[in-house]
């Protein structure tokens, strides 16, 4: 994208278009998604299934 700017000089009213050189430098950095929740659903389902097998209903 080319930097362009239409300036109405008298009115000092610029309409700028985002330009590529406005962007921060491209320098990717790995950012692994963190784990914050224990597998609550899995464990509760596991607990339920264990409880159900104990009651011989599953």
């Amino acid at each position: 994208m080319k930097a362009e700017m239409n300036m109405e000089a008298a009115a000092l009213n610029a309409t700028a278009i985002e330009a590529t050189h406005w962007e921060p430098p491209m320098a990717p950095l790995d950012m692994p998604r963190q784990v914050l929740e224990r597998e609550a659903r899995a464990s509760s389902i596991g607990w339920l299934s264990r409880f159900a097998s104990f009651l011989h209903i599953a």
């Binding site: 309409t15 278009i17 962007e23 921060p24 950095l29 914050l36 929740e37």
Partner: protein
């Protein structure tokens, strides 16, 4: 990485110092917890002694439990202040930046902010950074959704580039979606550009920082390779209203002492307040990509109070997080009235209560979990105070009539023992926990001549007294707002992420009535109800019910401009600072743009409303 995933320092001497710091922090924690436990237990015993005089029932035990919890919370705050009263002792050697300079970027995430004010701040900071001999880039990270507002941002950015000759070191990018809100905005930058920078200073749109401050923060990060994040204590600037100036004074006069106490307790597991801090980009990248929580808001979805979680995750990753309240030249703006304070507080309330989901997050330090509990408690406690008042009324109403002749054939009546002394002792103890820390800070400021910056000992004492009075009057109003926020969140109402309304200024009486009439209504109901069922309690209820009745007036008139020298702070002398430079640039840009100026003079602070 060492054992247990803790990052080990290569320097044995530094490692020994760290161990000493950790040990000291543990001692401070035990002392503070012990102090809180003793104070809470004493309050509970006093209340029970008074309560069981007329026989005990369930309301007495409810009151005892509630007074234990609320007093423990008050004592915890008092402990922080008492712990922070002693100064730092020997003067620390502040390191200077090591060459070659590390690549550093100053990040300014924005969302529907006033672009003229925001970019004028960046222009001022850019000049200050260059004057301090620091090579730092700036990156404006926009999440603005409104196209007109985004166009204004671009236009103002063109002006910023032209004025600073900043092409190639001042950047602007606007995300196509605002996933993850502010935390997602920062994350997006780090994912795409993080490898270009060793350090990133994170600011808010209303933040200002001296170039020398940034230089010092970089140097402190260089000096301690284990340091993942360094948080400053920003001072509030630009307040003009009674409410705003009282907050500004409290932040400048009391907060450094509270923060020093907090810092002593936290040790290496310090706080992150989301802005006016520097991060080690690599540490942040490897530790702080936040996942959305399962389920729907308010408890699921994006993490609102992300900063607390990021600090906890850095600690989990073996990085240290420090707060250094001695770093000068770090500023922000604050709410100018109760209404804008309460709006911000609603978001913080939801964010902190959301942390209930994270108490059992795997691998967190015990202290980090405790910090989450503190954050949750900071909001729940309002509800607990309300419940205590209700339980006290219920206990009085339900109390059996005095039995003057409990034994058959008794010759003389037995009068119930007077427990007024215990109640007065309890009341004085609770007031003491609120007042003594502030008076202690005043005395310390006079003794160390710190009060000179606040207009001298007499003016500082006057400001402290008025602040105490104002905060006492406001406490029931805040209690109602916080209780409402907690109940809304607990009932599943998502407050979202409303646009910041910085500098929202003076309120009309109509706005005050709309904001506070519901509080007056509850105050009147409580007063009339108690008058009918337990008239003896009316006097005790007055300190709470009268401010509630006057809520609209308090909200309105505390938003009005404060004249006179009260609440003077050292930061008001802005000569030669980045704040003064910002005011000059902002005034010029507003004048040149030909658009209406801010709602008050630029010299008085940035009061422009959101441009969108």
């Amino acid at each position: 990485m060492g054992e247990n995933g803790v990052r080990m320092s290569a320097d044995p001497q530094r490692s020994d110092l760290k161990k000493q710091d950790v040990k000291r922090a543990r001692i401070y924690r035990v002392l503070s917890l012990g102090f809180s436990a003793v104070a809470a237990t004493t309050a509970t015993v006093l209340l029970l002694e008074a309560a069981v005089a007329d026989g005990n029932d369930v309301w007495d035990y409810a009151r005892a439990t509630l007074i234990f919890l609320t007093t423990a919370w008050l004592s915890w705050g008092a402990a922080q202040a008492l712990l922070g009263l002693p100064g730092r002792g020997q003067k620390r050697v502040v390191p200077d930046i090591a060459m070659p300079q590390p690549r550093t970027v100053v990040l300014v995430p924005i969302c529907n902010e006033d672009p003229v004010a925001t970019f004028a701040r960046i222009a001022a900071m850019d000049a200050s950074v260059q004057a301090a001999g620091v090579n730092a880039d700036f990156a404006v990270l926009s999440d603005t959704r409104d196209d007109d507002a985004a166009a204004q941002e671009r236009n103002t950015f063109v002006r910023l580039l032209a004025e600073t000759d900043g092409q190639g070191r001042i950047f602007y990018r606007r995300r196509q979606d605002s996933r993850g809100r502010k935390a997602g905005n920062i994350e997006d930058f780090i994912r795409n550009s993080g490898a270009a920078y060793e350090f990133a200073v994170i600011l808010d749109a209303d933040s200002l920082m001296e170039g020398a401050t940034i230089r010092r923060m970089i140097a402190q990060m260089q000096a301690d390779p284990k340091l993942g994040l360094l948080q400053t204590l920003p001072k509030i600037i630009g307040a003009t209203s009674l409410f705003g100036r009282a907050m500004q004074f409290a932040a400048s006069f009391f907060s450094p002492v509270f923060a020093r106490g907090l810092g002593r307790m936290q040790g290496d597991t310090g706080p992150f307040w989301g802005h006016n801090a520097i991060i080690r980009t690599g540490a942040f990248a490897e530790s702080c990509a936040l996942p959305p929580l399962s389920g729907l808001p308010p408890f699921g979805g994006h993490i609102l109070s992300h900063d607390y979680v990021e600090a906890a995750l850095l600690a989990r990753g073996g990085w240290t997080v420090h707060m250094d309240e001695t770093i000068p030249g770090s500023f922000e703006e604050g709410p100018e009235n109760v209404l804008s304070f309460a709006k911000r507080d609603r978001r913080w309330c939801q964010g902190n209560l959301q942390h209930m989901r994270l108490l059992t997050a795997p691998g967190l330090r015990t202290w980090s979990r405790f910090v989450f509990v503190q954050g949750i408690f900071a909001y729940i406690v309002s509800l607990l105070w309300g419940m205590f008042l209700l339980a006290s009324i219920a206990a009085t109403v339900m109390a059996p009539a005095p039995d003057y002749f409990p034994e058959p054939y008794q010759l003389f009546p037995v009068f119930p023992s007077d427990r007024t002394q215990q109640i007065i002792a309890l009341g004085m103890g609770i007031v003491g926990l609120l007042v003594v820390p502030k008076l202690g800070i005043l005395l310390q400021a006079i003794a160390t001549r710190r009060a000179q910056g606040f207009g001298g000992g007499a003016l500082a004492a006057g400001s402290v007294l008025v602040e105490l009075l104002l905060s006492s009057l406001m406490a029931p109003v805040m209690l109602m707002y916080q209780s409402k926020a907690v109940l809304q969140v607990l009932s599943g109402r998502d407050g979202g992420w409303p646009a910041n309304q910085r500098g929202e200024g003076s309120l009309t009486l109509g706005q005050g009535l709309r904001a506070g009439l519901w509080i007056s209504f509850f105050g009147a109901i409580a007063l009339l109800g108690v008058w009918q069922i337990a008239p003896a309690l009316v006097l005790w209820l007055m300190p709470v019910s009268l401010p509630m009745l006057a809520a609209p007036l308090l909200i309105t008139y505390s938003s009005r401009q404060l004249f006179g020298g009260l609440f003077k702070t050292p930061e008001e002398d802005e000569r030669g600072t980045v704040v003064a430079a910002y005011r000059t640039i902002h005034a010029r840009w507003v004048a040149q743009s030909g658009r209406p100026g801010p709602t008050s003079t630029p010299e008085a602070g940035d009061h422009a409303h959101v441009a969108a």
